[in-house]
């Protein structure tokens, strides 16, 4: 199972800034290993975020997103105590969801 995401969500005024650091190789499928074989592509394809269970963001990513992806976005109307959850699905069908509370 992948390592947990680190999520920080800070409310400021009527918005919360959410910063996420995900643990994922994000292999492009361009690299070759020492034997010359192509390392297969392995990357997060979809990211979804929810505020208190309601969808707020979805994104599609390609393999060009850097390894251990960073994402920052702002949720309107979020306040301290709200729950933010972030999930990703990769091209192998693996998935991970983590949550944080807005501070």
């Amino acid at each position: 199972m992948a390592d947990p995401m680190r999520i920080r969500a800070q409310a400021s005024g009527d918005k919360a800034t959410v910063r996420v650091l995900m643990a994922h190789e994000m292999e492009t499928g361009q690299r070759k290993d020492a034997a010359g074989k192509v390392i297969p592509a392995w990357y997060i394809q979809q990211v979804h975020a929810k505020l208190n269970g309601k969808d707020v963001l979805s994104a599609q990513w390609g393999p060009a997103v850097a390894k251990n992806p960073f994402l920052q976005f702002m949720i309107k109307g979020a306040k301290a105590g709200d729950k933010v959850s972030v999930s990703w699905v990769d091209n192998r069908g693996d998935t991970r969801t983590d949550e944080a509370v807005v501070t």
Binding site: A59, P63, F70
Partner: protein, 155 residues
């Protein structure tokens, strides 16, 4: 079903029907399942727009792309895409000279700002684009040249 034979025949018919329906949308299924493979295989901004069904993009000072002038490490280049305009449906990040131009698509729902930051890999010095697809069909973009000292595709 009265007999096993009838039950088997019914389920075989159903399976054929589903198979017939299921063959066509390898494409549609990719879309329906939320990932647009065609767009992420596209090699240029024009091809990406075609795959996403967008109009020809127009440069706009209302869209902002933030990226460093020089990226020491092409494997991790922080980029931001944002716009203050209302009515944005999607924000895209593209790296023109990457093997596949499109890096990310952000669906801008009503609960989030049209303002996203992430980090991308750049294979070589290239223009980085932030593209805003508006709900009225307009496609606006901004670009910035980013010089890369050490390419990020592992080559």
């Amino acid at each position: 079903m009265h007999t096993r034979r009838q039950a088997l025949s019914a389920s075989a018919k159903l399976a054929l029907l589903l198979l017939g329906a299921g063959v066509l949308p390898a494409v549609a299924q990719a879309q329906a399942s939320g990932f647009n493979q065609t767009a992420f295989d596209a090699k240029s901004l024009a091809e990406v727009m075609k795959a996403l069904g967008g109009a020809a993009p127009a440069a706009s000072s209302d869209v902002t792309v933030s990226a460093p002038d020089i990226a020491e490490n092409g494997a991790v280049v922080p980029v931001g895409a944002s716009t203050a305009l209302a009515g944005v449906k999607r924000l895209l990040v593209l790296v023109e000279k990457n093997p596949a131009a499109l890096s990310a698509i952000f669906e801008v729902g009503e609960m989030v700002d049209a303002n996203f930051s992430t980090r991308v890999k750049m294979g070589q010095s290239s223009d980085v684009y932030a593209v805003a697809m508006m709900s009225d069909g307009r496609v606006l973009y901004a670009k910035k040249e980013v010089k890369v000292t050490l390419g990020g595709c592992g080559g």
